[in-house]
């Protein structure tokens, strides 16, 4: 109910903002007067300094002038010079037959592939802003849009945040078209669907939704599309904006939508019946629905031998638990359960802690927070200095803190293990949620020991079980248990045994082999 009310409210907002755009450009048609058209465009753009207006005469009808408009830096200038301006300025006089000038331009003078006639001034402005060139001819109540998008961009490079030893080295780029092509090239399936949206009232960002028809659950597609359409924001600069606008709930530290920089990972997810959302201007592609497996599954698991992949998944799960619980366990053992520590180690620990003036919770909090600061700083530090500072900071400060008697040596080991463990997580945005959760666990451990840790784990577990991502339970296929899907969770079985797609995502067509 509440959701529906929000929807209608959003709809009203959307209508209002569209009206604002209407007020500026209106439903104005292209005028027959060339000068008026040019004046209008430059007025809409506020005499933009990057607007290039080139007036010229077509020799076929020297009495009528024409004008080509484009934004500097957004369009492919050599293309416009060679295949638009040159033929129109030079070849016009060679034409002998007597057709209308406007038809003639389309028949033989425009040497580009993507060309459209337009009468609406609004769509002309939109095309101009997205990098196309527009053409007006005196005396015509139509304009032409010439597809000439072309700007400086980064090439396809290694995905920075998800590097693998074996597997494709290609990563997504900031260009939406390049990204869709990267997916299309790996998935030559006619059923691959791509739907475009323009989101962001002011940024007009291109957003593409990709899925495989027949494999995906149609209800999820509809849900994703409905949620995308209801977005009402002036700017979409990164897929993170979309993620937060369409996720199921905001009240969780866990990412409800996965993201990846790797085209092969995106395709693998498409084949499982998930949906990819590509946003122009960012190499991070969103994948919905997301489940807990993003905490321990890496694309490389499917490229290496299955036994090793299974082992690595177990290892990553241990790392997940270590990153979450190790400092809390340290505090619990020191303050409540020293009898559980083997006696020789207990003596050594007591000796190590003898000079430490603080209770273990203060010790742990101080160390954890300083390591978090070091991590944050090493991300900001330029290039090669970053990792150096990290190592120097951790080693030197740790060592000095121990010899100054501020922390115990074991605490340094605990903090080091915790930090390294959280890097073992294959997905960065999943890993940072664990970084955050560590602190409440430490505080609870200081108050209630192991018992408190267990109680917090219960709450965390019920929270995870309650979470849904686009209708799919977050902990599936473990809770609710789906035996047929377990073969690709904590373990990975060889490919010949995975003949069915995971039923968790309710695929329309569940067989991987022998498709029609």
């Amino acid at each position: 109910m509440r959701r529906r009310r929000e929807r209608t409210k959003e709809k009203k907002l959307q209508e209002r903002s569209q009206k604002q755009l209407q007020d500026k450009v209106g439903d104005r048609k292209v005028s027959a007067d060339l000068e008026e058209n040019i004046r209008f465009i430059s007025q809409v753009l506020g005499d933009g300094a990057d607007l290039i207006t080139r007036k010229f005469t077509i020799q076929y009808a020297p009495d009528r002038q024409a004008a080509l408009l484009y934004l500097d830096g957004m369009s492919n200038v050599p293309l416009l010079d060679n295949f638009v301006l040159r033929p129109m300025m030079l070849q016009g006089e060679q034409v002998k037959n007597k057709t209308e000038l406007w038809d003639l331009i389309f028949e033989s003078l425009l040497h580009t592939g993507e060309t459209k006639k337009q009468t609406e001034m609004r769509s002309m402005v939109e095309s101009l802003l997205s990098g196309d060139a527009i053409l007006f001819v005196d005396g015509c109540t139509e304009g032409a849009v010439i597809g000439a998008k072309g700007w400086q961009q980064r090439g396809v490079t290694d995905p920075k945040s998800e590097s693998v030893i074996r597997g494709s080295r290609e990563g997504f780029t900031e260009n939406l078209r390049v990204n869709t092509a990267l997916i299309r090239r790996r998935l030559k399936d006619p059923d691959l669907r791509m739907k475009n949206y323009k989101i962001g009232v002011r940024t007009n960002t291109n957003v593409s939704v990709m899925y495989i028809e027949g494999v995906v659950d149609d209800a999820v597609v509809k849900e994703v599309e409905d949620r995308l359409k209801s977005i009402e924001l002036d700017g979409i600069l990164e897929s993170g904006y979309i993620e937060e606008m369409i996720e199921d709930t905001h009240w969780t530290p866990f990412p409800g939508i996965q993201n990846t920089e790797r085209p092969d990972a995106a395709v693998a997810n498409l084949l499982e019946g998930k949906i990819c959302i590509l946003v122009d201007g960012t190499p991070n592609v969103l994948i919905a629905p997301a489940v807990f497996s993003q905490f321990y599954a890496s694309p490389e698991d499917y490229y290496e031998r299955y036994l090793i992949a299974t082992f690595l998944r177990g290892l990553r799960l241990v790392a997940f638990l270590t990153a979450l619980l190790l400092p809390a366990l340290y505090i619990a053992f020191i303050s409540f359960h020293p009898e559980m520590i083997p006696s020789k180690l207990a003596i050594a620990m007591a000796a190590g802690r003898a000079s430490v003036p603080f209770p273990s919770i203060v010790e742990a909090l101080v160390m954890e927070i300083s390591v978090e600061i070091l991590r944050e700083a090493s991300v900001r530090l330029p290039g090669p200095i970053g990792p150096t500072i990290g190592i120097v900071g951790a080693l030197v400060i740790g060592e000095a803190a121990v010899s100054a008697g501020l922390v115990s040596p074991l605490m340094v080991i605990v903090v080091g293990m915790t930090t390294i463990s959280s890097y073992a997580n294959p997905s960065y945005n999943a890993a940072i949620s664990v970084r955050l959760l560590r602190f409440p666990f430490m505080i609870v451990a200081a108050a209630f020991g192991l018992y408190g840790i267990m109680m917090s784990l219960m709450i965390l577990l019920v929270h995870l079980i309650q979470l849904r991502s686009f209708g799919v339970p977050y902990m599936s296929p473990l809770a609710p248990l789906r035996i047929s899907d377990v073969k690709d969770t904590l373990i990975r079985v060889p490919w010949p045994w995975m003949k069915k797609r995971p039923v968790t995502f309710r695929p329309g067509d569940d067989r991987r082999e022998g498709e029609t």
Binding site: A219, D226, H337, M340, S343, A346, L461
Partner: protein, 388 residues
């Protein structure tokens, strides 16, 4: 449109979840001390009276399952008034059903409060000698209510996920048995008179309390026709767990020492010593893991209680947490009621007797009425399960 509504038409609890619900509810704080009572009545023969007691528990759950299978996919609050009342005046059936619900709910609320207190006593003895009981009770109750007031499907998944955790300590106890057990302690067998044996079987039977939660949850089963198998296998698993714990305690301590131990399972784990063990003593660890067993019992009983209240008084699903919050003072009062640990064990004993008594009586009465009035389910008005 929410894609979960496609699933929402289905009932939320799968057959394996039903199995898990029974196991996690019955296995609770009792495992920490139930072998003492068995040793007191049956001595070394406890290792077979527990098996026969388990068969009685199977019979109890079989009666309940058969009764509830007559009304598939219907909540108890829907079919019971219909069974008891007349077609024309639905109010009569509702009033007649109230005593039954009250009898069952009384067990749920007292059992959860006592489980809370008992575990609190364990914590105070073993880990927190200085922490006041009220703090422990409140943390346990608040957390349990927080979890129990989630939708039924979440409760089911929660149990399903935690079920394997319950097996961990059993493996540990099995290892202790293999290492420290003296076979001679388990002999001689069959020294009981018929009367003593009967008493021993009954005492063992009383350790299996909690299966009456099916009154709340079986209406949500996806395939109620398969429930017998799931429930019987659940009791079988519990019998196995109880048997291992009892036999290991008898083998390690002998029946005479066992009679005097307050928490025999904890002492059992205390004596565990294996080469290459990372942790020196395991009882805090066992208690930490046993939090799961106690907690699931608590959560399931409370969830059943909240569910029945919500359904009976037609309260919105959203206000489950308010009902849970309202229950906290009552539960706290009941939990703090026994004045010392002796008193607590006395009340535990009373509730242990009350549980099978009430579920067998209620089950048989309703089954008899259903057979006499030839009432059966198969009504198309399936209760809509709560969605998250």
């Amino acid at each position: 449109m929410d894609p979960s509504s496609k699933q929402g038409k289905e009932q939320p609890i799968s057959i394996y979840q039903g199995h898990a619900l029974i196991v996690t509810t019955v296995v609770g704080v009792g495992v920490l001390y139930m072998q003492r009572g068995i040793a007191q009545t049956a001595g070394a023969d406890g290792i077979w009276t527990i098996l026969l007691g388990g068969l009685l528990a199977m019979l109890e759950l079989y009666i309940l399952t058969k009764l509830l299978q007559r009304f598939p996919k219907q909540h108890s609050t829907v079919w019971m008034p219909r069974l008891l009342g007349s077609e024309k005046r639905s109010g009569v059936g509702k009033i007649l059903a109230l005593p039954f619900f009250f009898a069952i709910a009384l067990f749920w609320i007292s059992a959860s409060a006592l489980a809370c207190r008992t575990f609190g006593e364990v914590l105070v003895t073993a880990i927190f000698p200085l922490t006041p009981m009220s703090v422990i009770l409140l943390t346990l109750l608040v957390t349990a209510v927080f979890v129990a007031s989630t939708p039924v499907e979440v409760i089911a998944r929660f149990n399903e996920f935690l079920l394997p955790v319950l097996y961990l300590p059993v493996i540990l106890i099995f290892a202790v048995w293999a290492k420290e057990g003296e076979w001679l302690n388990m002999l001689p067998l069959f020294q009981l008179s018929w009367k003593e044996a009967g008493l021993g079987i009954l005492v063992s039977f009383f350790a299996f309390s909690g299966s009456s939660i099916v009154f709340a949850f079986m209406g949500y089963y996806q395939q109620p026709e398969k429930a017998v198998k799931a429930h019987m296998s659940a009791i079988a698993v519990i019998i196995l767990i109880y048997w291992i714990v009892t036999a290991a305690s008898v083998a390690v301590f002998g029946p005479d020492e066992l009679k005097r131990l307050m928490w025999p399972t904890l002492d059992l784990v205390k004596s565990a010593e294996f080469p290459g063990m990372i942790l020196e003593r395991l009882e805090s660890g066992l208690i930490a893991i046993w939090v799961v067993a106690v907690f699931t019992t608590l959560v399931n009983l409370l969830a059943a209680l909240i569910d029945i209240i919500v359904r009976l008084f037609r309260i919105q699903d959203r206000s489950r947490k308010w009902i849970g919050l309202a229950l906290i003072p009552v539960l706290y009062f009941l939990a703090i009621w026994p004045k010392d640990i002796q008193d607590l064990f006395f009340w535990n004993w009373i509730v242990g007797v009350y549980s099978p008594l009430v579920s067998i009586t209620v089950g048989l009465i309703l089954l008899a009425i259903a057979l006499l009035r030839r009432k059966k389910g198969g009504d198309p008005h399936v209760p809509t399960p709560p969605t998250s």
